[in-house]
Amino acid sequence: MIEISHLTKNFDQFTAIDDLSFTVKEGEVLGFLGPNGAGKSTTMKVITGFLSPSSGTVTIDGHDISTSPMAAKSLMGYLPEGAPSYGDMTTLEFLNFIAQVRGYRGEEIARRVQHAIDEVELASVSQQTIDTLSKGFKRRVGLAQAIMHDPKVLILDEPTDGLDPNQKHHVRELIKNLARDKIVIISTHILEEVTAVCSRAIIISQGKIVADGTPAELESRSKYHQAVSVRLTDDYDLEADLANLPDVAAVEKDEENKLTFTILAKEGKSIFSQVSEIAQSKQWPVTEFHVSRGQLEDVFRTVTQQSTSQQSMPQQSMSQQPISQRQQGAE
């Protein structure tokens, strides 16, 4: 179990993490979301013991990362952002080195390395120098070193960034397979990834948690939750028909496709059956008709922009200035 309690990290100019507290249990795949510069990477760097916190504690299975770093670090596998590795070594040499540092000796080294190579399918490039590998393979080398010692905690900073769709799919499958008895924390700004692999998502903005829940829970906070999306073949005035339904909040018309409408439900209400009844009785010229689970993207935008506007800054600079400042320091 990872326990993060009142974690704060200050840099010279700003606060990257602001009194962050949460716990992650075995079996959970936690998606760590947030705009660029929100403090995702910094949080991961503090959890893995690369940076020391300004205040607060991180404990991994009871081992405090500040007071017993060796024990805590041996429980974790970490893929830093960009999957850095020693480019002048071959894949095999590099993984051998990692296995040795992880404390394996003798035949166990070869066994561990082989296992990691099989797991992420690196066999074809094991004799190649890492510098000559493609981005996807480099990422997999990074994953291989992270899972080498079958760690209880796996921390992956943007594991699919820059990969092609096939590679992304492969990495996600891999994460799902690994996740069963482990804690996995992945940071990402690809929202589909959260729905695909995570059992829980935390959205942070300006170093604070602004949302925490399962992807489905977060989606239900979207204004598109339970919304009915309708596509017509002919122009038809839907709004007039829906005016009498008390649970309908609004009707949105698609800017590009004039015949597509989204009927928003009031919070906590389900309007599907009502709308479908009206559609049948009034004989709408419908070709598509479905209910939306809600859009994570919409929730993401709402919660992260709320937190920036709380800073009571002038409208224009509110989203740009703090973020660019943050990036300079955090990256």
Binding site: F50, M89, Q100, G103
Partner: protein, 244 residues
């Protein structure tokens, strides 16, 4: 094999995985040849010793050793592998020392490969090989001093060129500290003890006596403490500057 040895091995192998080590060794040997035979006039002196060979070493190291030291941490920082290395269960001290020792071993290998010069004087005359051995060890320790400065400067920046220039500047300062040029520049009112302390920090003060065959344990102690101090400074700098 502890983590120190594992890191040492990886670093040393990585020098030889690229042309860097070979280029370093070749240039080191060629410059040594030129300094010893042409500029130093080893033959013309008609003496069976290696004084001309060793007395150029401080100046040779001034350029060559920072070139090795500059990549020590700057490259780790630039490629981001510092984050990988320091989140592995590795003590910072092991990492600093392992990397330093690997680079120091490389300078040791280069130094050992100058053995033909030693064979030459033995063929031509009958030198005191004890003195030569002591001077070799002294020279290696001095290289370690330069390298420890390089380690610390390299930890300060992710740009290895800046690390190189910083290292050369600081090394130059320590080389000339003991030389008369600098000592004469002190005005008369500066207490002698300060001037002596200043001069005692100079590389030349310690290395000149070693090169002449005066084997004083204090000179070796100076370089050992010097190396230890700069390596500790490296560790502190790395710890402080990890965030950027």
């Amino acid at each position: 094999m502890g983590n120190l040895a594992i890191i040492f091995k990886r670093e040393l192998m990585s020098y030889f995985a690229t042309p860097l080590a070979y280029i370093f060794i070749v240039i080191f040997l060629i410059s040594n040849g030129i300094f010893t035979f042409d500029l130093g006039g080893l033959y013309a002196r008609g003496q069976a010793d290696l004084l001309p060979f060793f007395s150029f070493h401080p100046w040779l190291y001034l350029i060559m050793v920072p070139a090795i030291g500059m990549t020590l941490w700057a490259d780790e920082r630039k490629t981001g592998t510092i984050e990988l290395l320091l989140t592995l269960p590795v003590r910072l001290a092991d990492a600093v020392l392992g990397k330093f020792l690997a680079a120091w071993a490389l300078t040791g290998i280069a130094l050992l490969l100058t053995f033909p010069i030693w064979i030459t004087v033995n063929y031509l005359g009958d030198p005191d090989n004890g003195v030569i051995l002591a001077a070799y060890i002294g020279s290696w320790f001095m290289a370690g001093g330069f390298l420890a400065i390089g380690s610390c400067m390299s930890a300060c920046t992710k740009n290895s060129v800046i690390a190189f220039i910083l290292t050369v500047s600081i090394c130059f300062l320590f080389v000339i500290m003991g030389s008369p040029i600098l000592l004469d520049a002190f005005p008369g009112w500066v207490p002698q003890i300060l001037v002596d302390a200043f001069s005692a920090m100079g590389f030349l003060t310690h290395f000149d006596s070693i090169a002449k065959g005066v084997l004083d344990i204090r000179d070796f102690l100076f370089f050992s403490v010097f190396i230890a101090a700069w390596l500790m400074a490296s560790a502190i700098v790395i710890e402080m500057k990890k965030a950027n």
